[in-house]
Amino acid sequence: MEENVYFPNKHLKLGVRIWPRMFRDLIRSRELIWRLFLRNLAAKYKQAVLGYLWAFIMPFIPIGTFMFLNRAGIVNIGSTDMPYALFALIGLSIWQLFSVGIISGTNSIVSAGSVVSRINFPREVLVFASMAESIFEFLTKSVLIVLFFFAFKFRPSWCTVFFPLALIPILILTLGLSLLLSLINGVLRDTANVVSLLVTFLMFLTPVLYPISGAKALIFKLNPISPLITAPRDLIAHGCIKDPAGFVVATVLSFVLFFVAWRIFYIAETKIPERL
């Protein structure tokens, strides 16, 4: 029979033995994650008639704006390796995996409400399942991307099959940050707003809608998230990653952040119900 023992500062006293436990709990909860994942999706899109369609329409707004600004000479985008609309769409799709994911992730614990403080279940499940929204939106946009391939008669390189793999680092990064931010948001409620603002701002510091060139190049090069956006895009365009070192560093950083965040989450999550 499974025995649970509770005493003060338990998670600290366990030390390194916590890691196998964390993995075991996560694997055990895989069904629950999937269920909540589906639930979040259904909840978001069931009643919105335009719901599914919004995912198609929304990208056109920033893309269209920048195309116009570029044509009008207000903003100089520089040259891209593929038709601009496609370039921007792919960039935006990848970016929104991060931006939408991190915002719903930050809110995930608090929006679950009283379930957290009344029922005992592994709460990281909420954060993982919150990725549902951003992953679904991404899938919708990939359909759009494929349509664009045909529309612009653009032939993607065969390395595109590795595209999904190349997305893993940014997903891991999003999860890691979400775990941390959801904790902080549990105690300091305006975190969600701050994150929202920062993410919007951050988009302009990342080569999402424009390539790395010109004056902004330095900022982009310093931004650790840049390679996570450009690398998958390069795979489609060229079949090889232009900046492999950058990508590897960013990936490693993302994984490290994720594991640290997960560990912290595990330690701190017992304090959250008290403060919620």
Binding site: M1, E2, E3, N4, V5, Y6, F7, P8, N9, K10, H11, L12, E31, L32, R35, L36, R39, A42, A43, K46, Q47, S114, V115, S117, R118, I119, N120, F121, L183, V187, L188, I264, I267, A268, T270, K271, P273, E274, R275
Partner: protein, 411 residues
């Protein structure tokens, strides 16, 4: 198997009072933990208080424990500690076996999803695998008994339906230990009965239950032992009967302190006569403060008649918990006290079998003239009588019965 399934040793839990402290200490404690240092748990910082303090008890397999106490006494907090939601700040808690909770009925329910879909979500949150839910699905639906609404979005459910479905899922969790927190406030009477029956059933099958309730009748019926908490501290741990008596007695005492015995000296009520004293006596005319339900009770009322009253009426009211009132009134007995002389008079009410449910009763004595609303004197809730449960009885009172074989068909 007499091994304990739950073992609580001096468990304590503290909280912050204000929002500021909550946030501040929250950040502080989490930071300390992250840095690898232990949070200071055994001292009270400014703005903190002990919600539960030094609670110890053990629960063996198949036993049931009630937790009672006034609002804010730490009952729900203790339950959450048993459930692993709050970590104790002092002491140690050990729980063996799968824990099921009838706490948040409908946990994880999303209004947009149908009842059917929500059964799977709720079940998953409560720890059931999909295969398990599949197997039990029909039984769950049958228990909930909400008909076609199962396939309608939950947002269209009435609160009662919501509880039915949530409870149906929770009850099929198949736990070794069940934690129940006052959730049957919503839901119709028929369903409440179903729930208590089910709980009784699972108790028979060896599931240990911890039940938090304000409803003393539920505690009496469903649990054998209870823990009485007051201000987070354990007041009493022992038989449910005694625990409840103490709880009620404490409640009455604190209520009593608020009620000033209304022996109206001069309050506009006519003073043609005056009640002096009422006394409770047993069969042998000994004064008592405790009586077993069903025994003989005598009530002596002493009064002073100054003038001749036309038609004196005497009444005695017993007030139990929940506002229940039992009454003995000479008016309805067509008892005439006409022609009572002036001076000291003692009236005796004899109740051969005092069949009242076990409770601590407050008692009022009334003297009126001609009609019940023509009050002469009134001692409001000035007397106390503790009624104990009748021996060899189940239920609220032991019905006075005669049994006989009426017919036998020798077929």
């Amino acid at each position: 198997m007499t091994e304990p399934v739950i073992k609580v040793e001096k468990a304590s839990k503290k909280f912050s009072k204000g929002l500021q402290h909550t946030m501040l200490y929250g950040v502080k404690d989490i930071t300390r933990n992250i840095m690898g240092r232990e949070a200071i748990t055994d001292k009270i910082r400014k703005g903190e208080f002990w919600a539960v303090e030094d609670v110890s008890f053990t629960l063996k397999k198949g036993e049931s424990l009630g937790i009672i106490g006034p609002n804010g006494s730490g009952k729900t907090t203790l339950l959450k500690m048993l459930n692993g939601i709050f970590m104790p700040d002092k002491g140690r808690i050990s729980v063996k076996g799968r824990v099921g909770a009838l706490i948040q009925v409908g946990a994880g329910f999303h209004p947009m999803l149908t009842g059917r879909e929500n059964v799977y979500v709720n079940g998953a949150i409560l720890g059931m695998r999909k295969k398990e839910i599949d197997k039990k699905f029909d039984s769950i639906v049958d228990f909930a008994d909400i008909g076609d609404f199962l396939d309608a979005p939950v947002r269209h459910y009435s609160s009662g339906m919501y509880v039915r479905l949530g409870f149906a899922v929770a009850v099929h969790c198949d736990p070794d230990i069940m934690l129940v927190d006052e959730i049957l406030a919503v839901g119709d009477r028929e369903f409440a009965i179903k729930c208590y029956q089910k709980m009784h059933q699972i108790r028979k099958s060896g599931v240990s239950i911890v039940l938090v309730s304000h409803n003393e009748y539920v505690i009496r019926e469903q649990t054998s032992n209870c823990l009485y908490l007051r201000n987070g501290k354990p007041e009493f741990l022992g038989s449910s009967e005694e625990g409840i008596s103490r709880y009620i007695r404490d409640g009455i005492e604190s209520r009593r302190r608020e009620i000033v015995p209304e022996r109206q000296e001069d309050s506009g009520i006519k003073k043609g006569a005056q009640l002096v004293l009422a006394r409770f006596l047993d069969r042998d005319s000994n004064e008592i403060t405790f009586i077993e339900s069903g025994q003989e009770l005598n009530i002596d009322i002493e009064c002073i008649m100054r003038e001749k009253l036309n038609k004196p009426i005497f009444g005695v009211n017993f007030y139990g918990l929940g506002g229940l009132m039992y009454c003995a009134n000479s008016y309805y007995e067509n008892m005439s006290f006409e022609g009572l002389p002036s001076g000291k008079v003692k009236i005796r009410i004899n109740i051969p079998e005092f069949h009242l449910p076990a409770d601590n009763y407050l008692c009022s004595v009334v003297l009126a003239d001609e009609s019940a609303d023509n009050l002469i004197d009134w001692h409001n809730m000035a007397y106390k009588l503790v009624v104990g449960r009748a021996k060899n009885a189940r239920g609220l009172i032991k019905l006075p019965t005669k049994w006989e074989v009426k017919e036998v068909d020798d077929a």
